[in-house]
Amino acid sequence: MNKASSLAIAVALALGTMPALAQKTASQGIDEYRAMLQDGNPAELFEAKGEDLWKKARGPKNVSLEKCDLGKGPGVVKGAFVALPKYFADTQRMQDLESRLVTCMETLQGFNAAEISKTAFGRGEMANVTALATWIAAESKGQRFNLSQEHAQEKTFYEVGKRLFFQRGGPHDFSCASCHGEEGKRIRLQDLPILTKNPGDGIGFAAWPAYRVSNGQMWSMQLRLNDCYRQQRFPYPGFGSDATIALSTYLGVNAKGAASIAPAIKR
């Protein structure tokens, strides 16, 4: 409320010569802009590609991913996204959607997991992992996040993730919490979700993967975290590294009950 009225004043002062704008706050204007983009989210292009990749026989072994176990049993896609990351007994490790996909690409299709993990976002098989993640996320659209905290590793990773969330460092002393620790804050005009609790349906953890209009790229959760760390002026987090999975576990557990809208469309 406060935010809106102070913005209204700012806009009136700044743009007083433009009657159409003076009657509308900047945030209303931006909400309208965002609404205009909803109908026609290019993430659909990546969804289609991901679905195709899941069903197509590929890789050195020339098989599809249709027997991949994303945590709900081999081949079960619906509902898998909103329960990840989780502990997988076969790999004996905590995995998020993307690292699990890479495991399946190695064990089922014969790809080299380490090679894929080293590939830059948007390139080669990494682009395929992102497309797959986009489709798999979309298959759980509307479902509510409900990560398991049963296994000891799942609890431990939540605790480690919490510590990573509050870890201050780099030349700017930033932690994740610098931007995402309080409700109702913005960077520039960008609303910042609070991530220490459920921020609401389709906000924060429940919005990614998302299509970024600013660069026309499809961003997975791994890339979302990677770029947060970049802007935090931290060093480079490895793809599928334990730090990224622990942090995802913390965010995912906190988002319990939030309905997923992924893949969303973002600035």
Binding site: A26, Y33, L37, A48, I187, Q190, R267
Partner: protein, 151 residues
């Protein structure tokens, strides 16, 4: 919208099959390079066949008041007038003003939407070029802001 996924599933891919078929009955299908290379709204309209230009309430331009990002700005042009040959969407301050030129036929409504790149805040135009060469236009201002952390 409720049937979106259903509808999407019905999308059949026939890539390449029709690709090489020409469009002989579409006189304007050839790319009008001059119109797209022209810098200004006027020069571009001229290259697209306009002989005179006038503002008109019968032409509508739609777009946001503020765009959070200049890379993707939803814009639409429409008119209920009869006798429209082309409907153009332009961004005045872009290096070349013309974004898209739609050819109006009896088979489609003179109502088109797409998304444009905008380098900066600018007036955006819908220009209807009539069969007699008259160009009728409407404009509105779109403010492009820096949404994120200027990094």
């Amino acid at each position: 919208m409720q049937n979106r996924r259903e509808t999407l599933k019905q999308t059949a891919v026939v890539a390449g099959l029709l690709a090489t078929a020409g469009f002989p009955q579409f006189a304007h299908a050839a790319f009008n390079k001059a119109a797209f290379d022209a810098k200004s709204v006027q020069d571009s309209a001229k290259a697209a066949g306009a002989t005179s230009m006038a503002e008109s309430k019968d032409v509508t331009i739609t777009g946001p008041d503020i765009a959070e990002n200049g890379a993707v700005v939803p814009l639409g042009a429409s008119t209920a007038l009869a006798g429209v040959k082309h409907l153009l969407i332009m961004v005045e301050k872009n290096p070349s003003a013309l974004v898209a030129m739609f050819h109006v036929t009896d088979a489609v409504e003179a109502n088109f939407s797409t998304r444009a790149k905008m380098g900066q805040s600018s007036d955006v135009y819908a220009v209807a070029i009539m069969n007699d060469g008259k160009a009728l236009w409407a404009k509105k201002e779109v403010k492009v802001t820096l949404g994120g952390c200027g990094g």
